[in-house]
Symmetry: C2
Subunit: 685 residues, 2 copies
């Protein structure tokens, strides 16, 4: 069965390679398009190079710290394994981000050129470009976890090895944190900076070639949504596998190795389902492209469930409880339904067809203040349904698992629900990366003076891309909540704790700190965007002053300089929130001990899920309220209502693209960090 | 010692009576002033009458439910006591709000008239008017708790009676919830409604007599800040006394009755200190009136500590641990210092002299969106310091208490820190009610065409009142956090639970629900303001249409009709959030059991404290950013920067005056509700 995992993992890489060849072979459009795309490609490459250098230094230092830590306890061998896994997790996460983005910044041009042929062609190119990222992320996470499991002797000693892999998860979390933070800061700093200095100060339209920040803005979509979210979901996938494997250890006497590697097998089959799903997507005639993508998702989900049930029958069958596998398969189905529920709820709160966005538009008639108040009320309200859904999913899967009558069956049931939810991750990531590709394609078409027809096609796809981006965020936060819950159990196990007792003062204070960390981190992430934007505004002002030919249209602005400044700014600004994210749980652990940090972990997760929902969907709702007015209602573009919605949209930008997504990563980082640094927390006790 | 409590309690009522006579004897100004003040008085009275009728119905229904509940368990006697305590808590809370406001709506006119004499005269009248509310709140809470303790046979059976008093706390919480919610909705709905339809639509200035909503706006200050916050702090004071008494039971073998009634004695001495403090306040020459108020606070705090230490020596001296009383007195000092720290932090985050507000003003230069983004970042950031302070206070007092070597000394130490913090509550409430009185005085002066000089005086006091209102909110949230922590222990005790283990799925889900409840409740409270404002806007539009003479200035608008409509609207809108606040913990308790609801309680408290800090101080910072620009910086009133800050101020209004303060009450309601409904949660188990 482990062989199957390796085969599918390698097959995923192979399919990603084939897809990328297909995409690269496609028409690359006009020379004008190519020059814009080249600038984006170079900018994104330069950003990623710098980011990875910075991250490499941080990873190096932490690797040393971890090694010394384990060494101080005389656990050299485990220390070496943990450090090895840590570095491997970091490298694979960075690699999957790198390759995924390398294709995305090439697929954008092909999508723009493909838009001349028609919607179906452009959509297929964008989705397949996105699928390269999606498949690579899942494949590399499978190969990484399965490979280390094999290397560390998991076949001989399956109950001890999974805990030695937590370093892999920590490495992946850390890279994800910086990738999502840095990318999120970059993308919104460039967006806000370009808008403020271009539209507001210089009075030139959006995506105008004379604006030196316009390329930085397009680069931002790739480094934020593509590389950032890729690292986020790589991490979710790893964290979930590790958590499920550790929980599977408790079932070793019943299911043997099968219970431990079930997560990997389920992921592998889910990847196969995602591949088939992506290849079935086709826009039929004039239909809404979103419909085609939804069809592909349903195909993926159905196939993933079939694979899941088959794997349950094979690996989780036992004579002592012959119906257990059926109950566990039902847990998987529950997870899939949970992901569907999350997609629906996200759509309800962020689409203009439903009450929430409509109420924001309505409130905008009395100005920007009421737009913000109503949007904030909507954002706070939208925590209700997802929390109830997660609560029901956790308790029902725990109950179903308990019905098997097996010891530890309840917890194993919750692990299976999480696996069910994450079994479609390959397809979801393809849809997500689809977003920046179509967004970029739209930008390229706009900047290369293509025909009206082509613009309409890319505009249509761009709108779909916005929806898929919002949906992925809903999916990411739901899966983060469930994956984190699995790692709680791992933490309790590792720390030898029976409970996390909130009634103890140290635990309560640890819990308070966890909640506060989430709020403080979000504050720093939001503020970082503002600071990052200032660097860009200043550079654009300088360029206009130094070279008056830019505004006259007689000479080209220096896009690369703006990209470079945005890069440096974002990387500088990501340091403080990154340090806070690592420092707060570490300090709580060192000062107050392992049980207190358990409180930090759990309440941090709860607060993180809630605030991420507020920021993501609040931002999405404000965005779509503006877009809805731009379709012509209440006076359309330029009206007072529109101006009010623009304020809301600008406020929502750093919420939904920087702070919110970074919180998903923070949630999982808390789990993996506390697991890896546990020796430190017990050192002085 | 219990006699002392009764004596001080009655003395507090007597002093309140004397103060109110003093205030009522003062000059009542011109006929114009009197007519405005009369309208406010009638409006506030009508509101409170309707509100109390609504609350009485709810209380009646719940009293029946509680009685049936205990009856079903065959605990008729305890059921009757609980219901009696519940009704008494509700009635005393309503009474203290009623009398406090009755004086406030009379002191406003006297303060306006006193402004002709000078700042000192006006400040003293406003503060003494406020002190009536403050002293009554503390006195009635003392008389209520001590009286019931005596009536229920506390002297004979001191270890059993305190738990029978929790109904008193629940009654107080419930009235506080509706008073704060209804009052908060009323005040901001009237404010926003009056502004939108007056300033924006009709183009008339603020506080213009032609605006039919202008009286409703002034009424709102009384029902929100005066009656609402009064009920909030009545409840804090009760919750803290009850929690401390229950914790004191564990020390019964060491300290006897003294340990149980210590909280009441400390409160009584604190009330004496507050009285002396209020009487020392005097504005010396040209000094900033805030300085005089601060001086009074320091006098109060110093005297309260002396009383606290003396009480500790008398009641907490034991030969087995002769230094214990010193350590416990140190815990009280810690609590006092915590309240000082909270006042300082609140000031740092909401005063224009420091970085946070300055950064908002700076960001407003690029428009409303950046004003909101920066303000929100400031609001999120401001959770850091208070949480660290509360954490340090809890752990240090627990440690100090533990140093006594007495069993349960740690927890008792945290109780004493809370008592220390709340020992100045009388003075703080006087400062708080000072706010609406001076605000009203300003409105009366404005609307009665008084001279420039008088206006300057009331403007100065109004600014001070805004500061004191913000400070009280900081104090209220800090004391709510500590008081809630005390009640956790009571809950564990009552439910017979050893721990609240977050690692259990039901407890984790209960905790998730607690966090979500806070966000959902805040959303509903914020939205209620918007809905309430619509009623007012519609009525004002109707009045302008029906009677064109209003705008021409030839006939008077119908203020009473607007007040009546605002009243009905606010009371209607407070029902839904009120039901949600009661329903969520009840459902969790019934469906998932007592330990899960413990998770709801604790994580709800953490999330509530964090979100209340965000909403209160975020709102305060936006408010003062606007006020700072109005002093003339960046172009002053009417400039683009000013417009951007007006948006932030409007957004912050329902945050800081409706949702934030209501969350304080929700936190404590969670504690008392779970304690009282505990029999329901265990019914089916």
């Amino acid at each position: 069965m482990l062989t199957l995992v390796f085969v599918v993992g390698l097959a995923g890489v192979a399919v990603a390679y084939v897809l990328s060849r297909q995409v690269l072979k496609a028409d690359t459009g006009t020379a004008e398009m190519q020059s814009v795309a080249l600038a984006i490609k170079q900018g994104a490459g330069a950003y990623l190079k710098r980011q990875n250098t910075t991250i490499a230094i941080i990873i190096g230092i932490l690797a040393l710290v971890i090694y010394v830590l384990y060494g101080a306890r005389g656990e050299m061998a485990i220390g070496l394994k943990t450090v090895g896994a840590f570095v491997a997790g970091a490298v694979l996460s960075a690699l999957s981000g790198y390759f995924g983005m390398a294709i995305a910044v090439r697929a954008n041009l092909r999508t723009a050129a493909g838009a001349k042929v028609g919607v179906n062609r452009a959509l297929q190119l964008a989705l397949r470009g996105g699928a390269v990222a999606g498949f690579l992320v899942v494949s590399l996470s499978l190969l990484g976890v399965a490979g280390l499991f094999y290397l560390f002797g998991g076949l001989q000693n399956p109950t001890a090895v999974p805990m030695q892999l937590v370093g892999f998860g920590f490495g992946a979390s850390l890279v994800a944190l910086f990738a999502q933070l840095g990318g999120g800061i970059y993308t919104k700093a460039a967006d806000v900076g370009a808008d403020l200095v271009g539209k507001v100060e210089a009075g030139i339209p959006e995506d105008d070639l004379r604006n030196p920040a316009v390329v930085a803005d397009l680069v931002g979509d790739n480094v934020g949504d593509c590389a950032g979210r890729g690292a986020d979901l790589f991490e979710s996938s790893v964290a979930e596998s590790l958590g499920a494997m550790i929980i599977g250890i408790a079932m070793y006497e019943v299911f043997g190795l099968g219970g431990i590697i079930f997560a990997l097998v389920a992921h592998a089959l889910g990847l196969v389902a995602s591949m088939i799903g992506v290849f079935t997507v086709k826009v039929k005639g004039d239909e809404d492209p979103m419909k085609s993508l939804n069809r592909g998702f349903l195909v993926t989900a159905a196939l993933a469930f079939v694979g899941f049930a088959a794997a349950a029958r094979l690996l989780l069958y036992t004579d002592t409880a012959p119906k257990a596998w059926l109950l566990f398969a039902a847990c998987g189905l529950l997870g899939l339904l949970t992901s569907l529920a999350f997609l629906f709820i996200t759509q309800y709160y962020t689409s203009h067809r439903y009450r929430p966005v409509k109420s924001i538009v309505e409130a905008s008639r009395t100005g920007a203040a009421t737009n913000i108040i109503t949007g904030f009320a909507v954002a706070l309200e939208n925590t209700f349904a997802p929390v109830v859904v997660v609560g029901i999913a956790l308790l029902t899967s725990h109950w179903l698992g308990g019905l098997t009558g097996l010891d530890g069956g309840g917890l194993f049931g919750t692990a299976l629900a999480t696996m069910g939810m994450l079994s479609t991750v390959g397809y979801v990531l393809a849809m997500d990366t689809f977003g920046p590709i179509t967004d970029n394609a739209g930008g390229i078409v706009e900047m290369s003076n293509a025909s009206e027809d082509v613009r309409n096609t890319t505009d249509k796809l761009d709108a779909v891309g916005n929806t898929t981006k919002a949906l992925t965020k809903g999916y990411a936060v739901g899966s983060a909540a469930l994956a984190a819950f699995l790692l709680f159990s791992a933490y309790l196990e590792a720390a030898g704790l029976e409970s996390i007792d909130l009634a103890k003062p140290v635990v309560f204070v640890g819990a308070l700190m966890g909640g506060m960390l989430v709020f403080l981190f979000a504050s720093l992430a939001i503020r970082a965007v503002g600071k990052g934007a200032y660097y860009i505004i200043n550079d654009v002002r300088d360029q206009f002053k130094e070279n008056p030919g830019i505004m006259a249209g007689t000479s080209k602005p220096n896009y690369a300089r703006c990209v470079d400044i945005a890069t440096k700014g974002a990387l500088k600004q990501m340091v403080l929130p990154g340090i806070v994210a690592v420092a707060v749980p570490t300090l709580v652990g060192v000062l107050l001990g392992p049980e207190a940090v358990g409180g930090t972990l759990m309440v941090g997760t709860i607060a993180g899920v809630l605030l991420a929902l507020v920021l993501n969907n609040g931002g999405g709702a404000w965005d779509n309220a503006k877009k809805y007015v731009e379709t012509g209602v209440y006076g359309g573009k330029g009206s007072d209502v529109h101006k009010a919605t623009v304020v809301g949209d600008t406020v929502g930008d750093p919420f939904k693209d920087t702070a919110g997504p970074s919180l998903h990563v923070l949630i999982k980082l808390l789990s993996t960090l506390t697991l890896v640094l546990l020796p430190l927390f017990t050192l002085f006790r």
